[in-house]
């Protein structure tokens, strides 16, 4: 019932706004990132044909795309929350590297089971996120600076922990091997890669959290006007810390998946992931000044980046040129999303 109500409310909201610029234009605007995705998918399906075979649209490749998107997507969901409260988290990539390393080490050398590993690793992510949030709010330091510092700290710990090299994961039932159940994270269920399932599940949970809960309302209010929120009795500090903690946990979740995918935990992985996540959030229409944005937007943003990567790869475009393209797409996407 309330879902219906909500939809009506949003439509009304759209109607209000559309008075200024014309109704259909507004509707197109709101779906712009989806159009962008459609354009890129169309491009990919048309261009990536070799010897009469469509390399992009084949099921294995599509599954690969979603799998590749999942890690960045999961991080980007957390990043969306952080950016909605007008913060930024640069430590996500380092958290991924650290947690992947710790996960490998716990299973291979410390006799942890799957559940224990998962819990311990998520806890580490939560702890770093909590510290990010607590330090930036309590000491009023901009989150950019705090997370820049924790990025360095987390990366340093990861390298120190592992001696600077990756820890390979091999599965088996013996004490010095990783539990087989952990490899589920790199498997498929009904043809869909498990990481993709995680990504979809996490996206749905957090989209619902933002839309249907008090917490979500607070996140938008704080990003929109922090003073007004505080004066309305919202515990701004607490909400912000929670948001950073969530971002840390999701980065750790991405780290678990990363380790399972590569069968190793390397302290040097995840470098630059924070930028990919921010790019996905920005392409998805979230304002970096806070208060405006959605999870579905971010999901689309992550998919756009993923499909683009995949397409350029299939077309054998030079690796370095791929980066150039990606940069241009980010600018174009953000310009197209701009109001007016």
């Amino acid at each position: 019932m309330s879902v219906v109500k909500r939809t009506i409310r949003i439509e009304e909201q759209g109607r209000e706004a559309s008075r200024a610029t014309g109704a259909w234009l507004q509707r197109v605007k709101r779906l712009q990132s989806v159009f962008g995705l459609a354009v890129i998918i169309t491009l990919a399906s048309v261009l990536c044909v070799r010897n009469g075979e469509n390399l992009f649209l084949n099921p294995v490749n599509l599954a690969n795309v979603v799998r590749a998107v999942s890690e960045n997507g999961i991080i980007a969901v957390g990043m969306t929350l952080v950016i909605l409260v007008a913060g930024i988290d640069l430590s996500v990539g380092a958290i991924l590297g650290l947690t992947a390393t710790v996960a490998a080490d716990l299973m291979m050398h410390k006799h942890f089971g799957t559940l224990g590993t998962v819990l311990a690793v998520l806890l580490i992510g939560a702890l770093i996120g909590l510290l990010n949030g607590a330090v930036s709010t309590k000491l009023s330091i901009q989150s950019f600076i705090v997370t820049l510092a924790s990025m360095s700290i987390a990366r340093g710990i990861a390298r120190f922990w592992s001696g600077g090299t990756g820890i390979p994961i091999t599965y088996g039932n013996e004490p010095n091997l990783a539990p087989v159940s952990y490899s589920l994270l790199s498997e498929r269920i009904a043809g869909i890669p498990v990481p993709a399932i995680c990504f979809i599940g996490i996206s749905i949970v957090f989209a619902a959290l933002l839309r249907y809960t008090r917490f979500g309302r607070y996140v938008y209010a704080i990003g929109g006007n922090e003073t007004a929120s505080r004066l309305s009795g919202i515990r701004v500090t607490r909400v912000k810390i929670a948001v950073f903690t969530i971002c840390g946990v999701l980065s750790a979740a991405a780290g678990l998946i990363h380790a399972a995918q590569l069968n190793q935990g390397s302290p040097n992985d995840g470098i630059g992931y924070e930028l990919n996540a921010i790019a996905a959030v920005a392409i998805g229409g979230t304002s970096l000044s806070g208060g405006i944005g959605t999870i579905p937007g971010t999901v689309v943003g992550a998919l756009i980046l993923g499909v683009l990567d995949n397409m350029l790869g299939l077309l054998n475009v030079n690796n370095n040129l791929q980066m150039v393209f990606k940069g241009l797409i980010i600018i174009a996407a953000v310009v197209l999303q701009r109001k007016k």
């Binding site: 909201q13 209000e16 006007n225 007004a228 929120s229 004066l231 009795g233």
Partner: protein, 511 residues
């Protein structure tokens, strides 16, 4: 079209989507006149002035400057034509100094091409002196009070040597004495041949300053009249198209037991804060009583309310008692729990989340009650919002309307609706009618009285003395962070309040 018209606007039309903001507006401005522009909120005054200063390029209609047809499509056009505007919403850079703000974009240069600060400061001084503005030209604008900032904006317009000056509510943040100074400047400018378009909701100012008045209603031109030939009632009738009954409703004072008691409230602002200090402020307010706080800008009026609302924990000392029990209020949340509510002076900066729907804005403090476990009960929320919107006559189609799109009066009603929803015992109102139209003002006054009759306590800060005298049962005056006087409604006059607000009863008080 008059012979001596410096500016003529004719048949101006402008639509935003399917809202027709202007439907054939007209204005004729003579050389050296102070021309008042009046109209309710949403009458189209601001849009018309935005067109004139080049902020809205795509309008229909004709603009003549000294008989010559001109096009104003960009702010630079307006500046070239000698049109300057003093904004109601201040457009200053808080991190820059007074002088830097005044000369922003046209800083004097030295031979090396660097900014000639010496000259800039030297050239700033005369403007500050003309306005008798007691700030240094090197002071950061962000550290100044709102009223002082407004005068800096005036100085900036003066320095542009504009031939046409638009003033949109220039006195809304000024104290009486600053208003006097501003009026002197306006008169001098007009004597020098500068034409001034003066927008204000304050009738007294318009009668005092202007030679002619143009009235607008619903985006249309209603009439232009000579100020000497009309009465207040005529104008009100023209603006609203109906007669407005007495602004201040009469109410028997029937104060009950003491609701809120403040003893020796002292506040030392942290270093670098623009807030003023408070010293041993004591007062009490009873159930069903409206208490006014009068004082000049910077006297500490706002700070009293902020301290009561727990906004400066750690810098505040003193005793606060609610219904006889001493309470500790260390955050707005704790204040709300003690059933206090606070309507701030700065609606956009501290009151509303402008980008979100008004419904969400109203229910922010109340979401705990409006949710089951973690999840919001949208239907209850919407009902609650619609109820408040109806009782306060908020003009918006639904609770989903984005707050930023409403007029000032309606935004203020949304803020009030927010606090009324939680059924507070004490309402702290800081300049509750600032920048609001007569119609909306009257409604807010009615509301204040209705709330007092329900037994709520109201503490109201205002720089408009007639407003305080009209609404309050009792008024305390503050000066430099101390209470300097207390008056019952029957004995309060603007003169008495003003002299108490400028007189320091205790001499040894460093500021």
């Amino acid at each position: 079209m008059g012979q001596d018209a410096v500016l003529t606007l004719d048949g101006i039309r402008k639509s935003f989507g399917n809202v027709h903001a202007l439907k054939g507006a007209r204005l004729e401005l003579r050389k050296g006149e102070v021309h008042a522009l009046m109209g309710e909120n949403g009458a189209g005054k601001s849009t018309l002035m935005n067109i004139l200063q080049g902020a809205v390029g795509d309008y229909e209609g004709e603009v003549f400057l000294s008989g010559k047809k001109v096009d104003i499509r960009a702010p630079l056009d307006a500046r070239r034509l000698g049109i300057a505007k003093i904004h109601q919403e201040l457009q200053l850079v808080p991190e820059l100094s007074v002088a830097e703000n005044i000369f922003l974009g046209r800083e004097p240069r030295t031979r090396l091409g660097t900014v000639d600060f010496k000259r800039m400061y030297r050239e700033t001084q005369p403007y500050l002196e003309a306005l008798e503005l007691p700030v240094k030209e090197t002071a950061k604008v962000g550290g100044l009070r709102l009223g002082e900032q407004q005068l800096v904006e005036v100085a900036k317009a003066l320095s542009l040597h504009a031939r046409i000056l638009i003033m949109d509510e220039p006195t809304s943040a000024l104290s009486e004495s600053e208003t006097r100074k501003l009026f002197q400047v306006i008169r001098r400018l007009s004597a020098e041949g500068v034409s001034i378009i003066y927008i204000s909701h304050r009738m007294e100012e318009i009668f005092e300053l202007s030679q002619r008045i143009t009235v607008m209603r619903d985006g249309e031109y209603i009439a232009t009249v000579n100020t000497r030939e009309v009465t207040k009632d005529d104008l009100v009738q023209m603006r609203v198209g109906r007669a407005v009954s007495d602004l201040y409703p009469f109410r028997e004072t029937s104060a009950g037991p003491v609701m809120l008691e403040v003893e020796r409230l002292t506040f030392h602002p942290p270093a670098g804060s623009a807030r003023k200090r408070l010293q041993d402020v004591s007062f009490a307010v009873r159930e069903g009583e409206v208490l006014g706080i009068a004082g000049l800008m910077g006297a500490g009026r706002t700070e009293i309310l902020e301290c009561l609302f727990g906004m400066h924990p750690g810098h505040t000392s003193g005793v606060i008692k609610v219904k006889g029990t001493e309470v500790r209020i260390r955050s707005p949340l704790e204040a709300i729990r003690h059933k206090l509510s606070f309507v701030t002076e700065d609606r956009k900066g501290q009151g509303l989340v402008l980008g979100r729907p008004i419904g969400e804005n109203m229910t922010l403090p109340l979401l705990r009650q409006l949710s089951r476990w973690l999840f919001l009960r949208f239907r209850d929320e919407e009902n609650e919002c619609r109820k408040q919107m109806e009782s306060l006559k908020v003009k918006a189609t639904s609770p989903a309307t984005v707050a930023g799109t409403l007029s000032g009066g309606n935004q203020q009603k949304v803020v009030l609706a927010r606090w009324l929803m939680m059924n507070p015992d004490v309402l702290l109102l800081d300049e509750p009618t600032r920048g609001i139209d007569v119609g909306a003002k009257a409604e807010i006054y009615q509301l204040i009285h209705r709330l007092a009759e329900q037994g709520k306590s109201i503490i109201m800060v205002s720089s408009e003395l007639p407003e305080l005298i009209g609404n309050c049962d009792r008024i305390v005056t503050v000066c430099e962070g101390r209470v300097t006087g207390e008056f019952m409604r029957a004995e309060a006059t603007p003169e008495k309040l003003l002299s108490a607000a400028t007189f320091r009863s205790e001499p040894a008080c460093q500021s």
